[in-house]
Amino acid sequence: MEPIRSTQKRYCSTALTLAIVAGGVLILADLKPMGKGMILGTLFSIINFILMAQSISMRMNRSQAKTFFFSIGSIFFRYGLMALPLVASIKLAGIDLLGVVIGLFSIPFVIVSDHILTILLPTRAGQKQV
Amino acid sequence: MAIEGIDLIKAASFLGAGLAMGLGAIGPGVGEGMVGAKACEAIGKNPGEAGLLTRTMLVGQAVSESTGIYSLVIALLLLFVV
């Protein structure tokens, strides 16, 4: 599981750093609810990512039907967790909905942009292979 | 909402037109896609005959599109004649 851990560490830390920087800028720019929402959304996105990694090894070595039901179960569990910040942002005035939505997509965004940067900037290629 | 005879008939024919064209498009769409897939495969295997294969593909697609054209005709009849 060592390669998974390093991948996780890398993407999670990048996403968190980006979220804190963006949230800080937004809070300084007097958009406090949005900044808070973005950081909250990113946190839950990271939790989801870590749980996903745990579920992958559990899903292996089973038949296809079992894998399907296990996938449904893990999806409902993880999405229940991700619904929490969304509900909080709808109910509480201090957190902005748009910020949370953007934050929830931070991990996929970081992953895709990391790989696209690798294509655009060939010098990163050596650094990429963790 | 007043539902009278002529109104009901019109509503039914509009629904029929929409469903006829909508559902009628599924089959030819998939079928023509399969023809295209096989044509690409054949060209990959035998690139020398690309012109002939493309023409055969077009003829096959035109034939399988005819059911889609029947749906179109039926839908137009339902819309403008009924």
Binding site: - | G51, T54, R55, L58, S66, I69, V73
Partner: protein, 224 residues
């Protein structure tokens, strides 16, 4: 959002009827034609063995499209249609890429432009078929496989015009609506340049090529 369905129209009464001109579309078409002329002038001026940038582009366009035409028709017959295909592709490409510039619209966003180009392709293809095979042979094709299929065969031919022109219209119109709406939703922040790159440059080029290829294919089906 309000300018989604707005069209500048000039309505001229003429012999008891109203002639309607979509001014935006006409002006934009003229701009596309002017751009083509300027490009042609730049590409063919100062021709030399060491080509300049415009000459390279022009040669690339022309040689690729000529090869394409001669592939689909054969060498002799292809010669007659080469300029048509080349001009059609370049015109559509310039039209579709016009949405990149602010305050400009794609003329292909109006159904009239693709429909007239589609009709043009239809007339050319059938004229070519009649000229190649003679009217009797040409008309015989409509009574395949049995004689009473003739109305359906004719509708099938006519529906080709509809499909070719609505395909271009739907793609370009849909793309421009998506760019407009998403720009409004995200306050024109980050996404619009990427959306423009995808929908205007990429889809626009693909659809211009598809339109040209289909016109060529329709001609070649009639001729062969």
């Amino acid at each position: 959002m309000e300018d989604l369905g707005r069209i500048h129209q000039l309505i001229v009464p003429f012999m008891g009827r109203d002639l309607t001109f979509n001014l935006d579309v006409i002006v934009m078409t003229w701009i596309a034609i002017a751009a083509m002329l300027v490009f042609g002038f730049l590409a063919s001026r100062n021709r030399s063995r060491l080509p300049g940038p415009f000459q390279v582009l022009g040669e690339l366009f022309v040689s690729q499209l000529y090869a394409l035409t001669e592939d689909a028709l054969d060498q002799e017959r292809g010669k007659a249609y080469r300029p048509l295909i080349c001009a059609l592709f370049m015109f559509l490409l310039f039209c579709n890429w016009m949405g990149l510039f602010p305050h400009m619209h794609e003329p292909t966003k109006d159904l009239n432009t693709p429909l007239s180009l589609g009709l043009m392709g239809f007339v050319i293809a059938h004229y070519a078929g009649i000229k190649q095979k003679g009217f009797k042979e040409y008309a015989k094709a409509y009574f395949q496989p049995i004689f009473f299929m003739a109305p359906l065969n004719i509708i099938g031919e006519l529906s080709k015009v509809i499909s070719i022109s609505f395909r271009l219209f739907g793609n370009i119109m849909g793309g421009s609506i998506i760019v407009l709406v998403v720009s409004h939703l995200v306050f024109s922040l980050v996404l619009p340049p990427f959306l423009n790159a995808f929908f205007v440059i990429f889809i626009g080029a693909i659809q211009a090529f598809v339109f040209t290829m289909l016109t060529l294919v329709y001609i070649s089906v009639q001729v062969n």
